[in-house]
């Protein structure tokens, strides 16, 4: 049975719904005077971050601490890793200290998969974002946010996202958030449309379970949620698009475009937002934008994942694809 969470594509529909339902309960802990559960007492989780990401690291750390796990933060910068120590050596050093789970963020696609499947360590591995590959807890928290807003907090329990139409806009090519979301939203029954300039859509996208469009305006009236991806300004220099202005004119979300969304539709952003690029301040600060909610939901989702992978004598999540053999 799988003990790791490497890719959103590995989750079955039932696994994903179980995680969302569990997160719904976990979210109530945040409303209590003592925001802590004893569940992971005596378990040690290391946050192994080879890439700067304060937001994700803090979110995992909050989740781990709320479940009473012992937390070790390891940032590769300024450590022996920058002096040439390998991922393998680093992981084995940490495991020698008695680590039960490794939350890994790495700039190289596949690094968490390698860590989980190379026999280097025994600990459970949770992918906190690898290169341009996957970021499964982000997809889960997005799905959680979508279910709460589009189905309902209580009405959503046990439910998936069947029939919901989600549009993901922006730099799909370089986005692990887009990959994870396409996989998970499809598993949950949603219809996903990717919108991007053709330069920012990967060759091979035709095998993904989603539609692709180059035109934002025509998709907006037909969607229940639009998810804006961050577009880094540097991409302009590699000729992915001519200018920032042209990008935001064609693919940015401003007030006019937001007005074309159905009334109930929400605007999502995984953060950090580049205001004025993919999203205007007007949209970002509007009540329809769930960016802040997503951050809060991230803690609940990560608590749920940690509980379901580490809370018992074996994991509750039954996905199967990632492990070799």
């Amino acid at each position: 049975m799988q003990r790791h969470l490497i890719s959103a594509a590995d989750l079955t529909r039932d696994d994903a719904v179980l995680i969302l339902d569990t997160a719904e309960e976990m979210s109530r802990v945040a409303d209590r005077p003592i925001k802590k559960l004893p569940t992971l007492r005596g378990r040690t989780v290391v946050n192994l971050f080879f890439e700067d990401s304060t937001r994700t690291r803090i979110s995992f750390e909050a989740a781990e601490k709320r479940l009473s796990a012992d937390v070790i933060n390891f940032s590769a910068k300024g450590s022996s890793v920058s002096k040439g120590e390998s991922l393998k050596d680093t992981a084995q050093t940490l495991e020698a200290m008695g680590v039960d789970a490794v939350v890994i963020r790495h700039g190289a696609s596949g690094a968490p998969y390698r860590l989980a499947n190379s026999g280097w360590i025994d600990a459970a591995v949770i992918n906190a974002g690898d290169g341009t590959h996957q970021h499964p807890t982000q997809a889960l928290l997005d799905a959680f946010t979508l279910r709460r807003r589009l189905v309902g907090r209580d009405a959503g329990l046990g439910q998936d996202l069947s029939g919901k139409r989600i549009t993901i806009v922006g730099d799909v090519l370089h986005s692990r958030v887009a990959r994870s979301n396409v996989d998970l939203l499809h598993t949950l029954g949603a219809e996903v449309t990717l919108v991007a300039p053709p330069t920012l859509v990967p060759v091979g996208v035709e095998s993904w379970p989603c539609a692709v469009s180059y035109d934002l305006d025509s998709t907006l009236p037909k969607c229940d949620a639009v998810m804006m991806l961050r577009v880094q300004r540097e991409r302009m220099n590699a000729a992915f698009f001519p200018t920032e202005r042209e990008y935001s004119r064609r693919y940015g979300l401003d007030g006019d475009r937001m007005a074309r969304l159905p009334e109930h539709a929400i605007v999502m952003h995984p953060g950090p937002m580049v205001r004025g690029m993919e999203i205007t301040a007007e949209v970002a600060d509007s009540g329809r934008c769930t960016a802040v909610e997503q951050v809060a939901n991230g803690v609940s989702i990560r608590m749920a994942v940690l509980y379901l992978l580490l809370g018992g004598n074996e994991p509750a999540v039954t996905h199967s694809r990632t492990e070799e053999k």
Partner: protein
């Protein structure tokens, strides 16, 4: 040197015959030859081929002796049935002077497992800017005839044109590593369905094909011959086929791994499958097999690329590119070409010995198995089938993609000019 009688071998896969070696040459080929005064090698059921010739080997010496040396690399070659290998120039220092190529050539001679023919760099330091002293390398004791910046593409069209022209003076050949550098910045694997899913930087087929297209046109324009290293895509096959139909003097090689493996394997993120050019799709594999069978692709070359364990025991992006291949090449060719009915053993001899020797002008290699010829031979137990065990490799490195995979065929004997380098699967 004494006499050796190879009894009952299927020469080039044909009817059983006896082959008598006397000294450095084949004395007689026939039936019921007298064993008098000769050491007898019973070869019933086995296939006898001319010693294999590899036009594309990385021996790593000088500079990276932790991954391979001329000694360990030539022992690996003998184990795999090779009697001559062409050593690529991307050593440290680069083989871009007469001094370095002579050193490599001399080491090969001293060890005596396999003839080593150094390949000279096209440009100084493989930097693609300034032609290396191609003439000096040719005139050196190593007698270099093949030039390549392999590992890097000679991407500057003017430098490539000049190199193609310049080596005509001594009938040399430029072997191009076709990889458009701008299109492959940050590239990690074949660009397509799998790379899109895995989030690994895409290495488009067009980055290879555009360079091949340019170079065959350049070769035509200046009337030179050009050799294409490790051709890996169906599109490249089409371009070479078109060039040959126009009479352009182009030759091309394919590696064993590109005949067998696809980019689906990269889903494991296991860097043993990381190689340059990258593993492609099933469609490409099938096109390469067909092209090797019909002669569009002239030869099989291993691109034997040893790397130390730590360079592969890591995350994909950090891993080195390349696979060892000398000791598994013939098995992979049997699996993909012979056992599939695409090529007979005479065809294998042609693609793995005769043609590579001719392209590289390796005198005395790739000759017919007949009286008076140099006794460069390899004997293969084609009925064998078993798992690949890297622990048994003679190479210093173990970075094989075939560990544990069942493959057919096993080289049991190799003779270099009458001297056995491999006997019953054991190096002498």
């Amino acid at each position: 040197m004494s006499k050796i009688l190879i009894r009952g071998a299927k020469v080039l896969g044909g009817e059983p015959q006896d082959v008598l070696i006397d000294g450095e040459t084949i004395a007689e080929v026939g039936t019921d030859l007298s064993a008098e005064g000769a050491e007898v090698v019973e070869a019933a059921g086995k296939v006898l081929l001319p010693g294999l010739v590899d036009l594309h080997t990385h021996l790593r010496e000088p500079g990276r002796e932790d991954s391979e040396t001329v000694l360990t690399g030539t022992r690996a070659a003998a184990s795999g049935g090779y009697t001559a290998v062409f050593a690529m120039a991307n050593t440290f220092p680069v083989a871009d002077t007469a001094g370095v190529v002579e050193q490599v050539w001399r080491l090969g001679r001293e060890h005596g497992y396999c003839d080593v023919r150094p390949i000279g760099a096209v440009t100084v330091g493989l930097e693609g800017k300034k032609l290396a002293e191609l003439g000096a390398m040719h005139e050196s004791a190593a007698g270099v005839t093949v030039f390549s910046d392999d590992g890097k593409c000679v991407d500057d069209a003017v430098i490539m044109r000049r190199a193609l022209e310049y080596v005509k003076a001594f009938d040399g050949v430029v072997a191009q590593h076709a990889q458009e550098p701008r299109l492959t910045e940050g590239a990690q694997m074949n660009e397509g369905v799998v790379s899109a899913e895995l989030g690994l930087g895409g290495w488009p087929a067009v980055a290879e094909e555009s360079i091949i297209a340019r170079d065959v046109l350049l070769a035509e324009h200046v009337g030179s011959r050009v050799h294409i290293c490790h051709l890996s895509t169906a599109g490249s096959v089409e371009i070479v086929r078109w060039a040959k139909s126009r009479g352009i003097r182009v030759t091309a090689e394919v590696t064993p791994h590109h005949l067998l493996l696809t980019d689906e394997l990269v889903r494991t993120y296991n860097p043993v499958y990381k190689v340059n050019p990258p593993l492609r799709t099933e469609r490409d594999v099938m096109a390469l097999r067909e092209a090797l069978a019909d002669g569009t692709i002239d030869i099989v070359a291993t691109d034997h690329a040893p790397h130390p364990h730590e360079d592969k025991d890591c995350e994909w992006a950090a891993a080195a590119m390349g696979m060892v291949g000398l000791e598994t090449a013939l098995s992979v060719v049997q699996e993909t070409m012979v056992d599939t009915g695409l090529l007979d053993w005479a065809g294998v001899a042609d693609r793995m010995s005769v043609k590579p020797a001719r392209i590289g002008q390796a005198t005395g290699h790739g000759r017919p198995v007949s009286a008076g010829e140099p006794a460069n031979l390899t004997l293969v137990d084609t009925a064998y089938r078993g798992p690949v065990d890297p622990a048994r490799f003679a190479s210093r490195s173990r970075n094989t993609p075939y560990e544990g995979r069942e493959l057919p065929g096993r080289v049991t004997h190799t003779w270099l000019r009458g001297k056995a380098t491999l006997v019953d699967g054991k190096l002498t």
